[in-house]
């Protein structure tokens, strides 16, 4: 094991400039990978937030009395698509309006609770059920108007999809670049050590003995670069989180879970480190197979 480490350290020392350049370029690749993972996480979190906020607001005609509205509410609650329904009476609506406009007394003076309609606020389990429900509810007896912000969610979902696609393509390309760097570096090492490897082979070194230090070197490149980018990513993420921004985000796919960008960056870094190790291993394995013919 110490021979293995000594051999790798000697290689790294001999090609110091090349090692630094490669680690810098690979670190940038991994950093971009980390940034895009974070952006994808943020956009998913935002989408989740918007979806949670999305609701139908069903306004009723003045002649449709509270008793009828509550009966209709009980009927709607039997619908499997419904997550929750809350009733906002004329008084509740007036109180909300008053609270929202407390700085405008002149406006409030001219209003009474009668002027605002009673409503039901309906949340569905799946945001995609909002439109069909709105359609059917609008035809129900006593319903004046049904409102929901379908466009906003759809637009954000489209933007989010574009970010995902661009992010994945970019991350894929950068991983390919990193893979090529590992391959090229190992090729140079193999070429520089050509005589030594040939002698080792002729004096009875097994294929595994020759391959081992090269694989370790590849994994070192991957992990060292991933480590550098992880440190940068974690530092920036915690600074952003500590400012209060991005500190209470919804976790996509885990209902009710909340986290901060800083904590997410720890998970992200683990992902980057694993990617670095795997990429380094397969890059060097491929280089060994291609250039060493073993």
């Amino acid at each position: 094991m110490s021979n293995l480490m000594n051999s790798m350290l000697a290689n790294l020392k001999r090609e110091r400039l090349l090692v630094i350049t490669n680690i810098v370029v690979m670190s940038i690749s991994f950093l971009v990978l980390g940034i895009f993972t974070s952006v994808i996480f943020l956009s998913q979190s935002m989408l989740k937030y918007l979806e949670n906020q999305a609701q139908l607001m069903v306004f009723f005609k003045d002649e449709f009395v509270e008793e009828k509205i509550l009966k209709y509410k009980t009927e709607l609650e039997k619908d499997e698509r419904v997550l929750s329904i809350s009733y906002v009476s004329k008084e509740d609506a007036f109180n909300i309006f008053t609270e929202a406009n407390k700085d405008e007394p002149i406006l409030l003076e001219s209003l009474s609770s009668d002027i605002l309609p009673a409503s039901l606020e309906i949340r569905t389990k799946d945001v995609r059920d909002l439109a069909p429900m709105a359609e059917s509810i609008s035809k129900a007896e006593g319903v004046e108007e049904v409102k929901f912000f379908e466009d906003v969610i759809d637009r954000f979902r489209s933007i989010s999809l574009v970010v995902h696609i661009v992010g994945f393509v970019l991350v894929g390309l950068l991983l390919l670049v990193s893979y090529s760097i590992v391959l090229a570096t190992l090729r140079m090492t193999i070429s520089a050590k050509g005589k030594e490897l040939e002698i080792q082979r002729l004096v009875g070194a097994s294929d595994a003995f020759i391959k081992r230090p090269l694989l370790v070197q590849g994994i070192f490149f991957g992990i060292a670069s991933a480590l550098v980018s992880s440190i940068v990513l974690i530092t920036v993420s915690f600074i952003l989180s500590s400012s209060g921004l991005y500190s209470n985000l919804n976790v996509p796919f885990i209902p009710g879970a909340k986290t901060s960008l800083g904590v997410f960056s720890l998970f992200d870094s683990l992902l980057i480190l694993i990617s670095g190790g795997v990429l380094g291993y397969f890059g060097s394995l491929s280089a060994v197979k291609r250039y060493l013919k073993i």
């Binding site: 005589k195 002729l202 004096v203 009875g204 070194a205 294929d207 003995f209």
Partner: protein
Amino acid sequence: MAQIEFKNVTKEYEDFIALKEVTIFIEKGEFVFIVGPSGAGKSTLIKMLIRDEQPTSGEVVFEDKNVLDIPREDLCNLRRRIGVVFQDFKLLDSKTVFENVAVATEVVDCPKEEIDAVVPNVLNMVGLLDKRDKYPVQLSGGEKQRLSIARALAHEPDVLIADEPTGMIDPVASDEVMIVLERINEMGTTVVMATHDEVVVNKMKKRVIRMKNGSIVSDKKKGKYDEQSDE
């Protein structure tokens, strides 16, 4: 049963035939010269013994085992039993004399204590113990070749093959190298040496297999370089 057998070995390249139906049997403990001009097929033949080259047809047998049947992952075991000495020494300039020999022991993951015991022993055998901390560039041609022999001996091989070991050194150094090879042979190691050094061959009076254009033209015990007849 011979220790080494080449049976009807032929090696064809795209544009020429390096070996034609070569058959040789070498007993354990023999000292054999394979002689002939450049291009006669000497190097190709001895490279086949460590499967650095493969025949187009025929068999290469080492201690009852067809070398071609040895799985790739076991090839290292064969190469540990057959030491190789090259004309161009194949030494690592960045390593000391000691480290150059140690390479052979490191590849089998020898513990440090064993390396520290084996390496001085073989360096002593070839008369280079006092130069253990020198680098190859500080050695004469003859010393480099003896270092190459020391490395080949590190595994205590059953066979030592030497490809033109005196080809790049002066006559005095050649004598030193041959003395070392003879001593190794006397200790029971089979030595197979490819050469076109007439002086060395004639002085040693060992078995001489003469090759020309890929074929054996003579095989004589206690032979000389230019003898044509078979025995």
